[in-house]
Amino acid sequence: MKQLSTKVTSNGHGQDSSYFLGWEEYEKNPYDEIKNPNGIIQMGLAENQLCFDLIESWLAKNPDAASLKRNGQSIFRELALFQDYHGMPEFKKAMAEFMEEIRGNRVTFDPKKIVLAAGSTSANETLMFCLAEPGDAFLLPTPYYPGFDRDLKWRTGAEIVPIHCSSSNGFQITESALQQAYQQAQKLDLKVKGVLVTNPSNPLGTALTRRELNLLVDFITSKNIHLISDEIYSGTMFGFEQFISVMDVLKDKKLENTEVSKRVHVVYSLSKDLGLPGFRVGAIYSNDEMVVSAATKMSSFGLVSSQTQYLLSALLSDKKFTSQYLEENQKRLKSRQKRLVSGLESAGITCLRSNAGLFCWVDMRHLLDTNTFEAELDLWKKIVYNVKLNISPGSSCHCTEPGWFRVCFANMSEDTLDLALKRLKTFVESTDCGRMISRSSHERLKSLRKKTVSNWVFRVSWTDRVPDER
């Protein structure tokens, strides 16, 4: 009898993907301005490190929250013992109001409909457990966050069927793509339970348009299925456009308090907007009482630490702070994104025009030897090993077209970003020259590369020294 579960022995955790391979290489040789200036620069990490100073100065001005006191009295004991899976009421209220603020106070969130979770990793998995049986499918537009393969499928047994999006229209979701995905699921004999989108999108860095959101709501209405909108990047919107949440669309279509609204669920987290992934704060928002009830019980498996709930409820209840933070955060992200985009442009590289997120979706198709994923992997290896930048290849995000890469810009200093861009520019210029030099050695190298790829895949399957990230 097999000793361990199939979850251990399969690779459902998804960590054998190339996405995580770059991590391994980075870990071996991490860039440090002083200690290791020739090391690999981490650009595969969607972290927001731009605004810690704002939070730190808030802490300095708010000693009570910092030292677990309320009105000068220690509440340590109360926090030590607080494990109510309903969560701290003042924290949920603060979260609801913060979410409203991000959406320009156009929609309201009822704190009673919020379920806390240990990060959106846990929130997404919990929603799957609530909405899908093993073997049921959710449709996801590609490209999508690689971690979804683990979060949505691994322990739940659910399946993902991709909604193919293409560069021809800026990777927007189309009606025909939706229908095709639905039919594909049926061909595979999978029951479709819903659609899951990340809005703004990871890895694209674009917010869904109103047209796409309307399309999605109409689609789930007609198919009688669920819609999960993971809005983890909602506070990173820096474009001229306003962020449109699925909740906005429900309101505009006068679908609030209808049966359809019960099938729309929002996932949120403070990991990206506030740059606090270490604190493990995620949330599910649902209009369906049964989902809230079941998810609340499931949150027992991943509650938010009470000391963290307390600290953040104080932080988020300070409206002066939150409005200042959101504005400054967006300003800094915009400036940083511009820096990356113009740096890339000077190297002859374009990006998908983005208005949100902590990364750009970069078009390196012109740098591929052939229009294949093999060539994409080759290019990626060169970038990791020779250019010494860890970026994420589009194939790891299930992109259907080779040559796209996700490059993060908010997890490093400006100087480091400039250095990265300089390295990339040098590489591109040398490649252009290089390509002109030798065509004959191409075939020789091709077979060498093939061998190297399979070695790498073998090597990565034993890897587990990989930090968790989005």
């Binding site: 802490l59 300095a60 000693p63 004991r77 899976y85 846990s122 299925i225 270490g278 630490s305």
Partner: protein, 499 residues
Amino acid sequence: MEIPEKNSGRGGAILSKIATNDQHGENSEYFDGWKAYDKDPFHLSRNPHGIIQMGLAENQLCLDLIKDWIKNNPQASICTPEGAHQFSDIANFQDYHGLKEFRQAIANFMGKARGGRVTFDPDRVVMSGGATGANETIMFCLADPGDVFLIPSPYYAAFDRDLRWRTGVEIIPVHCSSSDNFKLTVEAVEWAYKKAQESNKKVKGLILTNPSNPLGTMLDKETLKNLTRFVTSNNIHLVVDEIYAATVFAGGNFVSVAEVVDEVDISEVNVDLIHIVYSLSKDMGLPGFRVGIIYSYNDSVVSCARKMSSFGLVSSQTQLMLASMLSDDRFVENFLMESSRRLGIRHGVFTSGLKKADITCLTSKAGLFAWMDLRHLLRDRDSFESEIELWHIIIDKVKLNVSPGSSFRCTEPGWFRVCFANMDDDTLHVALQRIQDFVSKNNNKLVEKASVHDQTIQNNNAKKQKWRQGNLRLSFRRLYEDGLSSPGIMSPHSPLLRA
């Protein structure tokens, strides 16, 4: 347009079975005590006649020591001026390996909590969302849906949820009886194992809590050794939940399965089958901080559990604080000694107070509760209905919330778990006084009263209905429906979680 039925058709927007079944176990009648308490909670000055909460296995006896340490160590917090320089690194840190210092501190604490008799490898320490998360995760690692784990009864009620709900694993109890003080024997496990196999069940392992909840008793070394030999010879797993490891009273002898792993012959025991679940919720009284640990001797399990810990990592803010606290050897040694001493005293005061009311408890040297023998007060010693009746009397008349044995799947009526470490001395005194008063007032009348009541019930259905309804509902069906229709407002704060 016709509105499609919610649960209709292929691909309809129904919820999963998991979301709609009651396998989470929270619709059981054992909520009644909680609800009664929530409506009328005792307070020494503000509500001295309210219900005293004795169904909550919390350790509130040493929080002052921790509070003092935190006050004297501001650098352990990322929010204080002394610690703020660490803020951004910590806030950013989500590596599922956890902070190295945290793992080291946990390994250090675990070793000290076992008297330094054994050491733990920090690289085998894996985080989880409390022991709740740890137990579920270990099931996901060791068993597939439909597989079986054996578990000695009586056992912690929430295991029904933690081990089974989302995992699809089945649990089969190994019944222990009062005739030999609820001791777990290898023979009983062997018998349960054989029976399960005869019904074509795939048994993947045995899981037990040591020290035991609700019994407060501990396994002796020989039994533990034999259990490890048993699982090895049958190639099944042994998971030991040692969440109460440091709640051993002064003078008690706790043997961790880690010590057995150290001592036994490698030819006799396959350590790949041995796993420990731990937490700081009971030993340190910090359930709010959600610190669960999986410690496995099996590398594949460590690796897989670590990946799964993404679903329930410990907040980095909490990791940092505890890394600092638990590597302070002086604090740890003093804390463990003092906690042990205070628990022992509290247990002594409680059990001797019960003795005055002619109530005995199972002899125990650990835990935050006593396993109280009230069989002599039952109307009918063989009926669980009388246990529930007695329980309602205790809640309603004596005004104490205690946990009936049947909620722990005990096979003999009349046993109750009573917690004593979640209140101050004065409250304990009041609780004991109430018990003593009630017993002396109703000595032997309790049985009469119950049977008179019974007569009345038989003669008058309406009265029966009224008596039962009061604040307390017994009907499973109504409870289930109620649970579904008003989840947020009426439901208690997950007592199973705090049990």
